[in-house]
């Protein structure tokens, strides 16, 4: 295959792989919008701030999802009254702290529980820090284009054209039943978030097709460089969290800490997620969602690597 064929095949594969999870996320988000009463979620979540973060961190165990579909769900949860601390913690941890991904990590690393525990720790720590700090921001600062609701405005109605948080489709009087409204809203949300997925998939496919493989491999002998290189690779490849452990484990020449950094960062920061963050969150929160996990995972992984060596 020539390189253009490789590029098109990989880009198509990434979108096709992620599409079911994005549609599922959009459908869950739409169902929340249509069926959940205002403030319904805030009654279910704890009032204590620490408990809210903890609630979000473990929610993935009960609502397994992957990173492709979790952003619209988290945004809708916040818009429907879930405390941002809980929703952000859920968004960042659920792609890893869920039964499917934990099992695949266990299998990929040949039943090494240390790697499973290390992955969970490297995800939970930055997720908790970000949920705690960003969660205290008002929604208008946290979410892009979010306007507070008023008793006079339609729910989620605002002055922009359709966006990922836009509930306008749900208000369409011509759409009839709630079921139809869920379909319309899910389709609109899928298309809106799909744009970012497509952009991320194209970028990842381009890197995968044209990045010289030797560039990454040359760093294997130096711990900080190896960790940084594997983190960069996790961002560029944008592999699904259910499969990334197998990819990481295949880098046998790299230290275990670098492999851990790969599987911890990818589900929180990759090219498609960066595009989705940019389209969903305000500029500074989106930047924090990329930079804070990257910095924390780098430091933690290098520390782990030094401790293990």
């Amino acid at each position: 295959m020539d390189t253009l064929a490789v590029f098109s095949a990989i880009a198509t594969a990434i979108v096709l792989e992620a599409a079911p999870f994005l549609l599922l996320g959009a459908a869950i988000s739409a169902a929340f919008e249509v069926f959940l009463p205002e403030g319904g979620l805030s009654r279910l979540t704890p009032r204590n701030r620490t408990a809210q973060v903890a609630f979000g961190l473990v929610s993935g165990l009960f609502l397994p999802t992957c990173e492709c579909g979790v952003v619209p769900v988290a945004r809708r949860l916040m818009a429907k009254g879930m405390p941002p601390r809980a929703a952000l913690a859920f968004m960042l941890s659920a792609p890893v702290v869920n039964p499917v991904v934990l099992a695949s990590t266990f299998v990929a690393f040949r039943s090494d529980l240390g790697m499973v525990a290390g992955r969970v720790a490297l995800v939970l720590l930055p997720a908790a820090v970000l949920a705690w700090t960003l969660g205290s921001l008002p929604l208008e600062s946290l979410l892009r284009g979010h306007k507070p609701r008023s008793p006079w405005s339609l729910p989620m109605a605002h002055d922009h054209v359709h966006g990922p948080d836009c509930g306008c489709a749900a208000q369409a009087p011509a759409t009839g039943s709630r079921f139809v409204r869920v379909i319309v809203l899910a389709g609109a949300e899928f298309a809106a978030m799909g744009k970012y997925l497509i952009l991320g998939a194209f970028a990842a496919a381009a890197f995968k097709t044209w990045l010289p493989p030797g560039l990454i491999m040359a760093t294997a002998g130096n711990l900080p460089l190896a960790v940084a290189a594997m983190m960069l690779l996790a961002v560029l490849l944008s592999v699904c969290s259910e499969a990334d452990a197998f990819v990481a484990a295949s880098f046998v020449a790299f230290p275990a800490a670098a492999q851990l950094a790969f599987v911890a960062l990818g589900p929180m920061v990759d090219l498609k997620l960066m595009a989705m963050y940019g389209g969903t969150f305000g500029r500074r929160p989106a930047l924090a969602l990329v930079l804070v996990p990257s910095a924390m995972i780098f430091v933690l992984a290098v520390g782990l690597g030094l401790a293990w060596s």
Binding site: S8, V239, V247
Partner: protein, 252 residues
């Protein structure tokens, strides 16, 4: 303009859903995804077609031009990828349901010797076992990769792409084959090797080999296959490995 964008978005979602459904119904989804996810791809395709059909009915929905453009460009790229679907439909498609034929024998005979059929990933995993069954005879097929240092030692690397979820996570997995005359097997050719499992010589490290679009190439550090018969073959109908068994009958 708004109405045009709304209808365009609906149509593009229908086309995307149709593309996904077509891949599944024609049995070609394996070219992008692990076939075990076909039901997911198919149902998502149907769901997207449903969404696309209802979307234009909501006049309140005003898609951004960038969203419509992204979907359109993706469909063009997917169409380009679809043009390269050269292989016939795989066995897992709706169009060609799983055959009820008896399972293939798990062994084959070559020059009076019996060989266990196995794929390169299963062989790699055997090599990772505490005590690999050295001396056992295996038949394995894959793509031959050559490098200068391998040619000198009369070796080649035999690999196949292993896919867990989709093509983006593809890994080339295999091992070195010893006792091969350089030049007998062209680089990139598909070959079937029948041979005996042997320990890898630690003094002969694996070369770094790359394949376009593949994350990394894994060659066993512990085992090699000492070739007893080498045959250049046509690539199998589905060249990727999606299944791995830890005992006979192997997925081959």
């Amino acid at each position: 303009m708004s109405s045009f964008l709304r209808w365009s978005q609906g149509l593009l979602l229908i086309l995307l859903g149709g593309f996904m459904l077509t891949l599944v119904t024609t049995g070609n989804a394996w070219q992008f995804l692990n076939p075990k996810f076909q039901w997911l791809t198919g149902s998502t395709g149907a769901g997207l077609m449903l969404c696309g059909a209802f979307l234009p009915l909501s006049p309140f929905c005003r898609p951004r031009p960038g969203t419509v453009l992204a979907l359109a460009v993706f469909l063009l790229v997917a169409g380009l990828a679809g043009q390269n679907l050269t292989s016939p439909a795989g066995p897992a498609g709706f169009a060609s349901p799983a055959p009820a034929a008896p399972p293939e024998p798990s062994r084959l005979s070559e020059n009076g010797q019996e060989y266990i059929k196995i794929n390169t990933a299963e062989l790699y995993l055997l090599g990772e076992a505490e005590q690999p069954p050295m001396g056992s005879r295996y038949a394995v097929q894959g793509m031959a990769l050559r490098a200068g240092e391998l040619d000198v030692r009369g070796e080649l690397a035999l690999v196949r792409l292993s896919i867990v979820c989709c093509l983006a996570d593809a890994l080339a997995v295999g091992l070195r084959v010893t006792g091969v005359v350089a030049g007998d097997v062209p680089a990139g050719a598909w070959v079937r090797i029948c041979g005996r499992l042997a320990p890898a010589d630690p003094a002969s490290p694996n070369p770094t080999l790359t394949l376009p679009g593949v994350v990394t190439t894994m060659l066993s550090e512990r085992i090699t296959l000492a070739a007893e018969a080498v045959e250049v073959i046509e690539p199998p109908q589905i060249p990727y490995m999606f299944e791995f068994h830890d005992r006979e009958p192997y997925a081959y």
